[in-house]
Structure formats: C-alpha cells, structure tokens
C-alpha cells in the first residue's frame, strides 16, 4: 500500500484498511510497522571521504551516516568501500565532485549544521546552482545531470 506507513495495532490495520473500496477481503502479507531509526551526527564526526575525523582507518556508510534511501546507501557503500581499499593501498582517499549527486550528498552530511542535523535524501537542492539560472525546472535538472555525469567521467 503506497504511502501507508503506520503504527496502528495489527488488528486495527486490518479493520480500517478493509474499509477501502476494493480491499474488503484483502489478505495482508505483512502489517505496517514503526521502529526507531538511529543515525550519527555526521557533520561532527565524518569527512566527505566518509572517514571518521578522529580515525582515518574507520569509515561509515548507509543510513547510520544520515543519508536517506536505498540508493544513497549504495552510494555511501561505494565511496566507503573504494576509500577503504585506497587506504589499504596507500593511495589518497577519493573525494567526489560536489556537482555529482553523490558528491553533493556527502558534502552536505559532512558540513551541515550539526545542531540541527537531520537525514537527507538525494535532491537537487544540495547541488551547487549554475551562475546563470535555467528557468525551466526539468531543463535545469537535466543540465545538472549532464554536468554531473561529465564530472564523474573524469575521476576514473
């Protein structure tokens, strides 16, 4: 059920959600649940390479660093894994260009206001704007995408 996250008691979920037309006899595979979600204060603790500030050989990725969503978790895994390997090989850890969505996300979590830090999903608001504003939103986002993929092509 799209967007129907819930903390209702399971019996109540069945009773109320079966009032929805078409779901009178719905069979539930799984009931909605709510749980606590824990994340680090990334701006205080992490660099944009996903290394801890106090220990270069400790890195972190996923929802615990305050990024939100599956794809952001994969992105963090990619950078933390890549940098863990680079440290093992005595190479400089990689910082991703902040015009990429990945780079912008890790720049955000490592530099955000620590006092009011909340998890951040990928979004275009954290990407640096062009000096000349493109008025049409779709065109603007498409331009961000092109700039990002061009920048990404240079790093590997």
């Amino acid at each position: 059920m799209v967007g129907f996250q819930t903390n209702l008691k399971w019996g109540e979920q069945q009773r109320v959600f079966r009032m929805i037309p078409g779901l009178e006899n719905a069979e539930f595979v799984r009931m909605g649940v709510m749980h606590q979600n824990t994340f680090l204060n990334a701006p205080q603790l992490l660099k944009n390479t996903l290394q801890f500030k106090y220990r270069d050989t400790l890195l972190a990725a996923g929802q615990i660093i305050g990024t939100e969503g599956y794809t952001a978790a994969a992105a963090g895994g990619w950078l933390a894994g890549t940098n863990a390997a680079r440290i093992a090989q005595n190479k400089e850890p990689l910082t991703l260009p902040n015009v990429t969505m990945m780079g912008a996300l890790f720049e955000f979590i490592s530099t955000a206001d620590a006092k009011h830090f909340q998890p951040m999903p990928p979004n275009f608001g954290i990407i640096p704007a062009f000096s000349e504003k493109i008025r049409n939103k779709r065109e603007r986002y498409q331009a961000y995408a092109e700039r990002s993929l061009n920048a990404l092509a240079l790093i590997r």
């Binding site: 909605g32 709510m34 606590q36 890195l59 990725a61 996923g62 992105a75 990404l152």
Partner: protein, 269 residues
C-alpha cells in the same frame, strides 16, 4: 594483506564489501542476522529491502534517477543487480525483492575475497581498516560503544513501513490497474473512494488504536516528514491525506473519468 572489516550486510555494507573485493583486497563482512534478529528484517539475506521494493524514479532529471545513473557508471553491484531484477513500476526502478537479495547474497558469498561472517560485532575493532554500515537499527551494544567512542549522543527518529496486500485478494470490480500520469506500464491497483467513503475512512483511521511505543521511544518520537504514518496524516486534518498518498492527481479510470475533476480519491496498492 590484512583483511578489511565491514560491519553490517545491508545495502551499504554489501556495496562496500564488493568494492573492496573488486580492488583485490580481502574483506570480512559481518552480518548478525539470523543469529541475532532485527525488529524490521524478515530474512537472513544480504541487502534486504525493508521498506518498499522501489529505489525511486529512474529518469536522470530526477534526483534518485541521477544517483542511479552515477552508480551504474561506477559499477555499483546494488544498482546492476536492481537493473537485472527490475519489475514494472511506472517510471521507478523497482525490483523483485526476494530474488534481488538472494542474488546478492550468493554473489558475495561466492566471491573468493569475501568472507561472510554471521556474527554480531559488539565493539569496533581497534586494529586495521573498518567500515561501519550498521544501519538505522544498529544493535544496542554497538550503539552504546559508538556513543562512548564519539562522546556524543545519537539522534533518533522514527521510520515506518507500509502493509503489503496479496494482489489476488483485491476486488478488481472496484480497483483498477493504472500508473499515475499513465507513466510506463500500469503497475498499481487503484482503489477509488467517493467523498462519503473517504470521510468514513478518515473518521475510523483517526480513532483507531495505535501500537504501544516503548518509553524511551515515546520520549524521542519525532516523526520524520518524508515517512509519516498514515494515522498521523489523518490527525492533521480531513484533507491532509488527499495531498499525500490519496491524492487524486494523474489518475483516470474509464468508469469514473479523471479523478481530480470528479473529486474522487485514490489509493495505490
């Protein structure tokens, strides 16, 4: 070469371990399931998708879609596996979650440089290179350890998952298949509600009993706006759900016409 330690076999830890192994370095991937259970997971597979089966919009002029494309170009195993087990979902990248996780578990377990260890880590190893990918449900002993190490308090919020309904049990005389704005294949059943049905549903939802939260959870209960429980939306007002999951925009049914024009609300299942 010393093994790198990765703690946590969710999406992040799975990608981390894979990238380390691709660089030719041996890695120990620790996952506490199934030895220690988590309150949200249902399997012992790596990279289990707990909330929805969707990675979000896939077009590159959308934020999630751009991130997908960046990761494709960087050879992310998560995105490549998602692409291989894609299911129709309008313009979104969605997967068959069982096959997705099983496939990743096998791929990693079979990699000669990856050792999958089913153990709970209670303290962060002092030696060597360590990646922490323990997720939003980091186990209490490790959370305590982290708090001691960093000398700082955690921040907490709540995350909520939606119920899942068996497709065959939906009444197709009422519900109809469509995607919002007719994007891609019609992948959702839509349950139309007239004004009266909506009002009754809203009333019942507002008054329905909530599950008990533990004391420490209640103290910290700060709902996260992107993932608000439906009953919380209902509490905020009669119209709130119509601007959220029950919005009537972009839906058309042969019998009911355009939802917005005809003031019908729709739920996607």
């Amino acid at each position: 070469m010393n093994n790198i330690t990765v703690i946590g076999g969710g999406i992040a830890g799975t990608e981390t371990a894979w990238q380390i192994a691709q660089a030719g370095i041996p890695v120990d991937l620790y996952e506490m399931r199934p030895v220690v259970k988590s309150p949200a997971h249902h399997s012992e597979e790596l990279a289990e998708l707990v909330c929805s089966n969707s990675f979000g919009a896939d077009a590159t002029d959308r934020a999630a879609g751009l991130l997908h494309e960046e990761l494709r170009r960087l050879n992310s195993i998560i995105i490549h596996t998602a692409d291989s087990h894609r299911v129709p979902a309008g313009g979104a990248l969605a997967v068959d979650r069982g096959i997705f996780s099983q496939n990743l578990t096998q791929t990693l377990a079979n990699h000669p440089l990856i050792t999958l260890r089913r153990e709970e880590i209670k303290a962060i190893p002092v030696e060597g290179i360590v990646v922490l990918a323990t997720g939003p449900l980091t186990s209490p002993p490790l959370a305590q350890e982290l708090q001691n190490l960093t000398g700082m308090d955690y921040l907490n919020f709540f995350d909520a998952a939606s119920p899942i309904v068996v497709g065959e049990s939906i009444n197709k005389d009422i519900a109809f298949l469509a995607s919002r704005y007719d994007k891609g294949e019609a992948a959702y059943f839509n349950c139309p509600m007239n004004k009266e049905q909506y009002w009754h549903f809203w009333q019942e939802l507002r008054q329905a009993q909530q599950a008990e939260l533990k004391d420490f959870e209640r103290e910290n209960a700060k709902f996260f706006e992107a993932c608000l429980p439906i009953e919380e939306l209902a509490q905020r007002g009669e119209e709130t759900m119509r601007y959220g999951p029950l919005k009537p925009i972009g839906l058309f049914d042969a019998r009911l016409g355009d939802f917005k024009e005809n003031k019908v609300n729709g739920l996607m299942v």
